[in-house]
């Protein structure tokens, strides 16, 4: 075998933590003799690494930031890969009485009205951006003593919410991973507003000559290929499907 070419992929911690990449990438690596170096950081940091040309490709879930990334000419060939969904978790006694609600915006309104604790990641991650946009839609400005901004990853947010018996917005993948470790249950799910889309974007080779553009495009091709999308569709955790592929209908 020839030494594999190393391709650097910056992605969010949640993607890495879900375990999907461990299934999705090895067949690609074997096929093209490319080794994908996964650098799991916050969404903001992942995009920053792309902007600086320190990675070749990014896989993130913050549509607004991604748009800006492409508009500024830092990234090219953005493709939607998949989505999963967000869910609202809370304590089993459910003080805000949101259990079974479909409309997430009114659920959020209830939570504030009941002055129940809410844990926010507050780290400008994709999840955090989504949460902020929901507050905006509900026309509520949180930031009182019941609103805990922890500035950390999803896992810790769940842990904190469990400790404080608070509500929290979470992606389904992380929830499944933490299910046994926390005392929270799913109270609100299924709203189309709760979709969490992931995109893959190659770093613009015109800005950084050393960027491995060809290999990046090969990876984009792989994850959006029939096989790639199949792997995504069939990936299960705790018996549940985590991601829904969108590249190929």
């Amino acid at each position: 075998y020839a030494e594999p070419i190393h391709l650097k992929l910056a992605t969010t911690t949640s993607t890495e933590n879900s375990g999907l990449l461990n299934i999705l990438l090895p067949p690609f690596e074997d096929l093209f003799n490319i080794k994908v170096d996964v650098i799991a950081v916050g969404t903001g940091a992942a995009i920053k690494l792309g902007e600086n040309g320190d990675v070749d490709i990014i896989l993130t879930h913050d549509p607004d930031a991604e748009d800006k990334f492409v508009q500024n000419g830092k990234g090219v060939n953005r493709r939607d890969v998949m989505y999963n969904d967000f869910i609202v978790l809370g304590p089993s006694n459910d003080p805000a009485k949101i259990k079974g609600m479909k409309n997430v915006v009114s659920a959020f309104t209830n939570i504030t009205n009941q002055q129940a604790f809410f844990v926010s990641r507050g780290d400008a991650s994709g999840t955090d951006q989504k949460e902020k946009s929901l507050w905006q839609m509900a026309n509520i400005k949180p930031g009182k003593e019941f609103y805990l901004e922890i500035g950390q990853g999803m896992g810790v947010a769940l842990q904190t919410a469990s400790e404080k018996q608070a509500y929290v917005l979470c992606d389904r993948g992380t929830f499944l991973a933490f299910k046994d470790k926390i005392e929270l249950e799913v109270l609100c799910e299924g709203d189309s507003l709760l979709a969490n889309p992931y995109s893959i974007i190659a770093v613009n080779p015109a800005l950084y000559s050393q960027v491995k553009y060809m290999e990046a495009m090969q990876l984009i091709a792989w994850v959006t290929s029939i096989e790639g999308q199949k792997i995504i569709r069939e990936y299960k955790k705790e018996g549940e499907i985590l991601f829904h592929p969108v590249a190929i209908k």
Binding site: G44, D123, S125, I150, G151, Q152, V156, E183
Partner: protein, 230 residues
């Protein structure tokens, strides 16, 4: 490079804007770390002293263990304390998690091996005649211990400084145990970690510079105080 420059600029802006949030973050950082250092010095210096002076079974092992604990990763300290004080942990009833007290506990555990190990090596190097001279002149055990500590003061202060540097700069335990909750347990280093994960590298550097600046001020005080006492 540009982040550094940006960071330096931002640091100045932040300092001169007297941002209230930054101010309270700085204050909490100092409160937590200074409390942890005071407590760990109060316990660690006497322990380091006793380990050095006394002959006891397992002395060598104790010293090796202390040196080993210097390599205690902050996250692991955080995890261990977490599993004791979390709701499901044995000390859960006290509701310590996500409070400054929890951070103090974590930093205390990080600081104490440093204080003990460096106090030990400080006292190790002190002339054996100090103790004899003190006893000869009628000192009690405690007074002669004090005489030894006084002769070792320079190295012991350095031990405290080292431990202080370690805890004020640590992030793992504070993050895990404090929770980086805005307005209540956010300190300098957890704020830096947050900004970094957001991709706000310049801002992270700016906070780092402020942290170093604070350490500088403390060290200047400490140095001044030290040279006056000698």
């Amino acid at each position: 490079m540009d982040f550094i420059i940006e960071g330096i600029q931002k640091a100045f802006q932040l300092i001169f804007s007297l941002d209230r949030e930054i101010f309270s973050i700085v204050l909490l950082s100092l409160r937590v770390s200074l409390t942890a250092i005071v407590l760990s010095s109060l316990l660690g210096i006497p322990l380091g002293f006793l380990i050095t002076i006394k002959k006891f079974f397992g002395k060598k092992l104790t010293i090796i263990l202390m040196n080993t604990l210097l390599a205690f990763p902050t996250v692991v300290v955080g995890l261990m304390v977490y599993s004791l004080i979390s709701r499901r942990g044995p000390l859960g009833v006290f509701g310590l998690l996500f409070t400054p007290t929890a951070m103090v506990i974590g930093q205390f555990i990080l600081a104490i091996p440093i204080i003990i190990a460096l106090t030990h090596s400080a006292i190790q190097g002190i002339d054996k005649r100090v103790e004899k001279t003190a006893l000869t002149l009628g000192a009690t055990k405690l007074q002669s211990a004090w005489a030894i500590l006084k002769e070792a003061r320079y190295a012991i202060l350095e031990a405290i400084t080292t431990a202080f540097g370690r805890v004020i700069a640590e992030v793992g335990a504070a993050m895990m145990l404090g929770g980086n909750i805005k307005g209540s347990t956010r300190i300098m280093t957890t704020a830096i970690a947050l900004e970094t994960s957001k991709g706000e590298f310049g801002f992270g550097i700016a906070l780092g510079i402020i942290l170093l600046f604070i350490a500088l001020v403390i060290n200047i005080f400490h140095h001044y105080f030290q040279s006056r006492r000698v």
